[in-house]
């Protein structure tokens, strides 16, 4: 058997390990093992590739792996759980850029057919868009760039021209692959396109963007696989591509919006602020909140991005323990788009040592909502806005929400009366059974905890 056959057999094994690893991710009990299995698949793939007869010198490979390994390991160990969305965005970007480069280098290989050229163009294009798109997403998530949607007149026309430009250069390059200028222009335009793709999208829509970029990073690897004729790249890349597409679909469904609406509408721009709501806001102090909580036997906690900002997950867990000692049952209701990426709240609560079996999805808490004595909304706004259910004129109308307003009492922990990400006023704050606990979420909960021990 020659080495090419052995390498391909090892690639089959790697692909099987990736698939099995992803399958194990379907339960929190086996997920960690699944991730390990998947990493073994990657290790095997890398080791056998080093025996490829095409590899003549190893010094550059060792250098790249050493630098990349150090950076990757350091970043993975030190990143704070609250910074996870921007970390994932950045990693997506690196993956995209790597695929762009692999596609580019494929040009220097022998015997480039028109089909290969087309796949090279695709991997450069998808990789480039993933790279700059992810960098912008990283900037928005980490607060280095303003999270507000950036819109200007003629944006759609500009984007259409950009796409046309890429298409024309692609055709020209396919006809004349020796003229590298076309390739450079394609790379530059794909970078611009990545930027244009993310800037009109606001902070609260980031879960969709991250999922989509996740998908692109897989598709870029897949396209690079076509360019260098490597089956494992195609299989692994399309698994990741499919995964990102599913997450994107789940996120869009959770906002009751189409993907094109998320990408092009610039949702949340100030012009959409809806009219005033009738009623009065009833503030409450920590002491009164404590008396109500002490008498409660069923409490629902609904976390949102504000919990992440206030780093309140640990005090929330502390409150949960106190309530449980008091004979109360506490569960968490997590909306699919709460936070800045899919599953964001779950990771923060897991960090605070909250057991995953009390983290409930929207569909499991809504049917039993009237049985909750208290629903505590921590830094969430649009995902609990009853206007989504009742007010046909609201931009949020039709979005599935956690119906906290049906609970007996609702506590809303909030800094001020500012509108949520969508710029829509929230009638929940004016309901008869709602009490507002103003201030920093972490500080407010700490005060309630002090009442418990006092």
């Amino acid at each position: 058997m020659n080495s090419a056959v052995i390498i391909n057999i090892a690639y089959i094994l790697s692909a099987a390990l990736f698939i099995y690893g992803l399958k194990e991710l379907s339960s929190p009990a086996t997920a960690r093992r699944g991730n390990f299995i998947s990493s073994v698949g990657m290790f095997i793939a890398v080791v056998v590739t080093l025996f490829n007869q095409g590899i003549l010198e190893y010094q550059w490979i060792i250098l790249g792996i050493a630098i990349g390994g150090l950076i990757g390991a350091a970043a993975a160990r030190t990143v704070a759980m609250t910074a996870m969305p921007e970390m994932v965005a950045l990693f997506n970007g690196f993956g995209g850029l790597a695929s762009l480069l692999v596609g580019w280098v494929a040009l220097y290989g022998a015997g480039t057919t028109t089909f290969t050229i087309i796949t090279i163009i695709l991997s450069v294009l998808i990789g480039g868009v993933t790279f700059t798109g992810s960098i912008i997403a990283w900037g928005k998530l980490s607060g280095k760039i303003d999270g507000k949607p950036i819109l200007f007149s003629g944006q759609q026309i500009f984007n259409t021209l950009l796409m046309l430009g890429i298409l024309v250069c692609g055709v020209l390059f396919a006809l004349e692959p020796t003229n590298l200028t076309y390739l450079y222009v394609i790379i530059a335009l794909s970078f611009v396109f990545g930027i244009m793709f993310v800037i009109p999208i606001g902070g609260g829509d980031m879960p969709v963007v991250i999922s989509l970029l996740n998908s692109y990073s897989g598709l870029a690897a897949c396209a690079a696989g076509f360019a260098i004729n490597n089956l494992l790249l195609i299989v692994a890349g399309s698994l990741v591509g499919a995964s990102g597409i599913i997450l994107t679909k789940i996120m869009c469904k959770a906002m009751n919006r189409s993907l094109s609406n998320v990408l092009f509408s610039g949702f949340g721009s100030p012009k959409q602020i809806a009219g005033e709501v009738e009623g009065t806001v009833k503030p409450i102090v920590a002491e009164d909140a404590f008396y109500i909580l002490e008498a409660a036997s069923n409490v629902l906690v609904v976390p949102g991005y504000g919990m992440a900002v206030a780093q309140a997950q640990h005090v929330v867990k502390e409150l949960q323990e106190l309530l449980e000692k008091n004979g109360c049952e506490v569960v968490y209701g997590v909306h699919p788009v709460a936070g800045r990426m899919p599953g964001h709240m779950n990771v923060l609560l897991a960090e605070a040592d909250v057991s995953y079996d009390v983290l409930m999805e929207m569909d499991s808490v809504n049917p039993r909502m009237e049985n909750f004595d208290v629903a505590i909304v921590i830094g969430a706004n649009d995902v609990v806005n009853p206007a989504a259910r009742e007010d046909e004129s609201s931009p949020l109308f039709g979005m599935p929400i956690i119906n906290v307003d049906i609970a007996r009492t609702v506590f809303v922990l909030k800094r001020s009366m500012a509108a949520g990400f969508a710029g829509v006023q929230n009638p929940l704050f004016f309901k008869e059974n709602t009490r507002m606990l103003f201030g920093d979420a972490k500080e407010s909960i700490s005060q309630v905890i002090r009442e418990f021990s006092g």
């Binding site: 990349g68 692999v102 997450l247």
Partner: protein
Amino acid sequence: MEIVFLAFILILSIFLGFELINKVPATLHTPLMSGSNAISGITLIGALVSAGAGAAQMATILGTAAVTLATINVIGGYMVTDRMLGMFKKKERGDQKAEG
């Protein structure tokens, strides 16, 4: 025929991906993203060949950069996913009730 064969693999993988990921619960969506992101670092094996082929200088430079970036993706992705998943624990709820 080669193109048809590759496209065949592509279609089957995408459907397999849909089936697998649909079963992942919402709780694990973040580790799923970072873990699948590490898998997309598979482009590393393409980068290894590019960096080591001893071809044009330009190809070696680009290849080495690709190896570095893809390695960050792979090592960082798997490690951070492992760190996150290590925090997902299930507590015995019976014990807590007994305390109260």
